[in-house]
């Protein structure tokens, strides 16, 4: 299962929560260049992973946001097209949800931490990440 390396994930998460690179560097006791490199690598790995999923399942990519770690895609199931949402959740990895599935609390709490939503509400989260 895909997961970012621990240190990289920590830096990525801090950035996803809105911290500036210089603040992350201070908090982690590393150089700003190291933060920049970790973020660049994290973005590339997330892109790679999301693209891999879209390729394997022939999903149509609508949006990949590696800053906050999510992908929106259209999944063709028989004659029906369903919206699919993929989230990278630290320590867990990538989780997928269809538009009509329940969104668990841990996902909604993660979305609140990243500023993707303000309440534990699936509708609000989808409204904010949809284009």
């Amino acid at each position: 299962m895909f997961k970012l390396p621990e240190g990289m994930e920590r830096v990525w998460l801090m950035r996803a929560k809105g911290m500036r690179e210089v603040e992350i560097a201070e908090a982690q006791g590393i150089s700003r260049q190291a933060v920049n490199k970790a973020l660049k690598d994290a973005r590339e790995k997330l892109f790679e992973n999301f693209l891999g999923i879209a390729e394997v399942f022939s999903f149509e990519v609508i949006r990949i946001n590696v800053e906050k770690g999510f992908m929106i895609a259209n999944a063709k199931i028989g004659s029906e097209v369903k919206r699919a949402y993929f989230f990278y959740i630290p320590k867990i990895g990538v989780r997928a949800f269809f538009e009509d599935s329940e969104f668990p609390d841990y996902l909604l709490e993660h979305a609140i931490k990243l500023g993707l939503a303000k309440n534990l509400s699936k509708d609000e989260l989808l409204q904010r990440i949809e284009i």
């Binding site: 660049k40 892109f47 790679e48 879209a54 990519v61 990949i64 590696v66």
Partner: protein, 233 residues
């Protein structure tokens, strides 16, 4: 590697600055300096043409956007990209300055139309009316997704044309109707052009770029695949 049928739009950075320079040269200055209007007008069109994107390529782990007849290359490092999105409509929230430019054009044209004397040739009025019509159209295009209802709405709003002209001249002739038809045809092409394409938005920490293409999904997957192959090689 060149990406076929993909063009960068002039909505950000230097290309947009060229658009901002071109607009007064094409629209405002030729009227203000009526004796030497044509060199300014030609220069304006030249600058506007230079702002149009000519192609998109991938060079190593860089996405290269080409402008100014291929002479200006804007390089986006793959690792700097925070988001790639396929758009079904142009998004106002990402391109506020473009909307501001169109709003300025509409206000200018409207003000010019109101203050213009009544006895002039109708071509003068058509210039301003055309600007208002196309300015409004592009603002709609930034806000509204494509649908048949929107298409009908846009065509219906063409009725502003004769109303504006009648307000100014007090009559509508057969020639005017021919002119309306020409403007309607140009607007029809603009609708096909704007709504017939897919759009891809690439956002980095520093800027937002917009590409047009035939299939956003194919282009997104190609860009990501090529960039990743380069990095893992």
């Amino acid at each position: 590697m060149k990406l076929e049928n993909v063009r960068p739009m002039n909505f950000s950075g230097i290309p947009f600055a060229l658009v901002v320079i071109a607009f007064p040269l094409i629209i405002i200055l030729p009227r203000a300096m009526s004796e030497v209007w044509w060199p300014l007008w030609i220069l304006g069109w030249l600058i506007l043409s230079a702002s149009w994107g000519t192609g998109v390529g991938i060079d190593g782990s860089l996405i290269v956007l080409k402008y100014v007849f291929g002479k200006l290359k804007i390089r986006i490092p793959f690792g700097e990209i925070e988001e790639i999105t396929a758009l079904s409509k142009l998004l106002a929230r990402y391109f506020k300055w473009e909307i501001a430019l169109f709003v300025i054009c509409i206000i200018y044209a409207f003000f010019d139309l109101i203050t213009m004397p009544r006895e002039l040739l109708k071509g003068y009025y058509f210039g301003d009316i055309g600007l208002i019509i196309f300015g409004l159209f592009y603002i709609f295009a930034f806000i509204l997704p494509f649908s048949r209802r929107i298409l009908v709405g846009i065509l219906a709003y063409l009725f502003i044309l004769p109303i504006l002209l009648y307000q100014k001249t007090g009559n509508i002739t057969g020639d005017d109707i021919s002119m309306f038809m020409v403007l309607a045809a140009i607007l029809g092409f603009a609708i096909l052009d704007i709504y017939g394409k897919d759009y891809i938005l690439i956002r980095t920490k520093k800027d937002v770029y917009l590409l047009t293409c035939r299939s956003a999904d194919n282009v997104i997957k190609t860009v990501l695949k090529v960039a990743q192959n380069v990095q893992t090689a």
